[in-house]
């Protein structure tokens, strides 16, 4: 027969079972357990009554409050849109000059712009818009396709070399790879470029060789896009090669790579992902970006 015994600490009986020395007390379940079970069950009953809860074949109990989370979301989105309508309409329709004259709208530009830029643009252009190799430094305010707000707005809408039907299209040809220029010719053009550009970094002994020959090649091969004076051509998205700002780098090795293999950067289009108001906010926001102290950052 199972022997129950009294536990000296609690004064309770054991159940009389033993497993390798483990015994169990015959303590009744404390009242609080039932109280809380009752409370949580009552809460559940209430919630089931109020909310959509139990399946009924093809349908379900709707709940007394008529709540439906899909409708809740659409309603909340609608309300948010109406609340924002006060300024989104102006942001979409007013000319840029007028927006710039309105402190209230410009506050939206600086606050929302920072967030929009961080979520959509910073991955390539950097949190401060300072760019990086292959990704333009926007704070330098040197524009490949032009710096009027309308032009930037259009760039945002269609992107560059993007999948948009009306995308801006730009390409630096692969002069070396495609056999248009020989290696020595490329070296001469580079000398020519470095002789005429500001801020080319470390001087290189090869810079002195072939500057003149390079000038001739430039006029023949490059000027059609970059301009006779190498100051770029905004309609083709061809950069100014004299301003000292290099998208990929102005040292001889990088320039050689650029001329041999060509370049074709990619900027997505935002027409489907951002609203017109958001694109216009971003336009003004990037126009307001300030370069780092001491000129464009090189990071």
């Amino acid at each position: 027969m199972a022997m129950t015994e009294k536990d000296p600490v609690t004064g309770r009986e054991t159940t009389g079972h033993e497993w390798n020395g483990i015994k169990e007390l015959n303590t009744p379940i404390p009242r609080v357990v039932f109280v809380f079970l009752g409370l949580t069950f009552a809460f559940s009953l209430l919630w089931w009554a109020l909310m959509p809860a139990w399946p009924l074949g093809a349908s379900y109990t709707r709940g007394l409050l008529g709540a439906d989370h899909r409708q809740d979301v659409s309603r909340a989105l609608g309300a948010a849109q109406r609340e924002r309508a006060a300024w989104t309409q102006e942001m979409e329709s007013l000319p840029y000059a007028e927006i710039e004259a309105r402190p209230d709208l410009m506050r939206v530009v600086s606050e929302s712009g920072r967030r929009l830029f961080g979520d959509n643009c910073a991955a390539c252009h950097g949190a401060e818009g300072r760019g990086g190799p292959g990704f333009p430094d926007l704070s330098a305010q040197l524009w490949l396709w032009g710096g009027e707000p309308e032009t930037i707005e259009e760039t945002l809408r269609v992107g560059i070399n993007s999948t948009h039907e009306e995308t801006r299209y730009g390409q630096m040809l692969a002069f070396g790879r495609d056999g248009m220029l020989s290696r020595p010719e490329i070296a001469s053009v580079i000398s020519f470029l470095r002789a005429h550009a500001q801020d080319v970094g470390e001087p290189d002994p090869r810079d002195a060789q072939g500057v003149e020959a390079g000038g001739a090649i430039f006029a023949e091969q490059c000027a059609s896009c970059h301009g006779e004076d190498a100051r770029g051509l905004k309609t083709a998205g061809a950069p100014d090669l004299t301003d000292g700002y290099w998208l990929y780098g102005g040292d001889r090795a990088t320039l050689t790579r650029t001329l041999v293999n060509g370049r074709q950067g990619h900027m997505p289009h935002w027409e489907e992902r951002l609203t017109l108001a958001e694109r216009r906010i971003l336009t003004l926001y990037v126009l307001g970006l300030k370069p780092a102290e001491g000129g464009p950052d090189d990071s």
């Binding site: 483990i22 809460f43 909310m51 399946p55």
Partner: protein
Amino acid sequence: MIARLTRHERQNALIILGLVALMGAVLGLAGRSDPLGWHGLLIVVFAAGLALPVLGALDAPEPTEDRESAYYDDPTRLGILLSMGWAVFGLFMGVWVAALLAWPELTFVDSPWASFGRLRPAHTTGVIFGFGGNALIATSFHVLQRTSRARLSGQLLPWFVLLGYNLFCLLAVTGYFMGITQSKEYAEPEWYADLWLVVVWVAYFLIYILTLARRKEPHIYVANWYYMAFILVVAVLHIINNLAVPVSFGQAKAYSAFSGVQDAMTQWWYGHNAVAFFLTAGFLGMMYYYLPKRAGRPIFSYRMSIVSFWGITFMYLWAGSHHLHYTALPHWVQTLGMTFSVMLIVPSWASAGNALLTLNGAWRKVRDDATLRFMMIAAVFYGLSTFEGSFMAIRAVNSLSHYTDWTIGHVHAGALGWVAMITFGSIYYLVPVMWGRERMHSAALVEVHFWLALLGTLVYVFSMWNSGVIQGLMWRTYDESGSLSYSFVDSLVAMHPYYVARALGGLMFLMGALVGCCNIWMTIRGASVSVPQDDRPADRNADRNLVAGE
């Protein structure tokens, strides 16, 4: 270990290993132009590696006649060592991914295997299935025998379960590095590994049933209820969630039988009950044996343990949809998940309370004995993380916590504070018993491990709570114009200090585990004392010595 098998059993072991190797060879050949080929090779190498020692000892002396009159503890011993080995691997991977989140540039090898997405499942599988699973198998074999007073069923079967299970873990983890995954969290391995686990798991269940059937105690102890629920429900979850069709027999890739929101619901029904029956029920089984044993106290309330068992088993199965609040899942399913999660707090706290009240009369021991303190803290964290879980399951709360580090904090309050602590406590109790030593080599080192583990857990959990709440709030803060105030990157910058803290907390936890490994190693190397006379199964032919009373 092999010495305890008869020559006939050794031959059978070779046949089984031969079949496994054959299976590996077939997979390897069929999948030779696929990563599957490597797994075929791995299976062959695994089987061959085990066959070698068996072959070498084939003609060794037969075991003595009386082997049936001792408990079968070899599989438990190896299971403990494997568990600690996986712990070091899994925790190290945890520290690695934690460091990657704090310092992403640490991805120093420009190779797919070294990317966060492949390392992370190696961490979760390493700790949950490698560390936790081996500990569950090892302790369940021990508890089953001691509370049934019967030797484990089968001579080869326990080895098949333990080693087969580790083969599954190996396939899983090596697969991630090669990019083999079906992208279901905690169920990443592909079809062939899943099928293998089914075979192993059925064998596991069989051992349990057969041994219980031979028990010499009239009643089944509650720990065994929990272990059995763990085995049975995990089998059901595993099979259903992994229903899939392979692209071909020669490819690792398979496509799930479910799609869309049904797939999501099946996955999180699985995912939540993996938490419930793997990380909770199994470890509750562990707690119900080792805690009263170490404390030398009777269980506070027999009735409460039974009621919580059925409460937990019944309610958990409904709760999975709280992982999918505010998704395409219909609202009514979310309501059910939420309400059952709220009710779930009651049996959960009843279990935690039962454990803590069992310690009444043993609090001095808790103060002096770090092993028991591991178990006590585990019960506290169990209470804490279940309260937190029920709270987070409320939709309004979840709208803040979901997708944030708060979830990660909750996970690790449960994983470090509950799962790992109860395991370490049980292992510290078990190692001297299993290797016939008086006590652990160094009580001071157990103490060091305890404090490293506790501190590491607190640092981890507090930093993730902070980070999670900040993150959640930043994602829902609007400015006057009705636009979001912060970009996602802003929230990343805000989390950086917490990520650094978490990595340090994890490092402490890992160091604690390493200290534990040294201590266990020294204990095993130390001098043995004789096994107590009564630590053996009841005589085979004796009648059940207790009359089944109730």
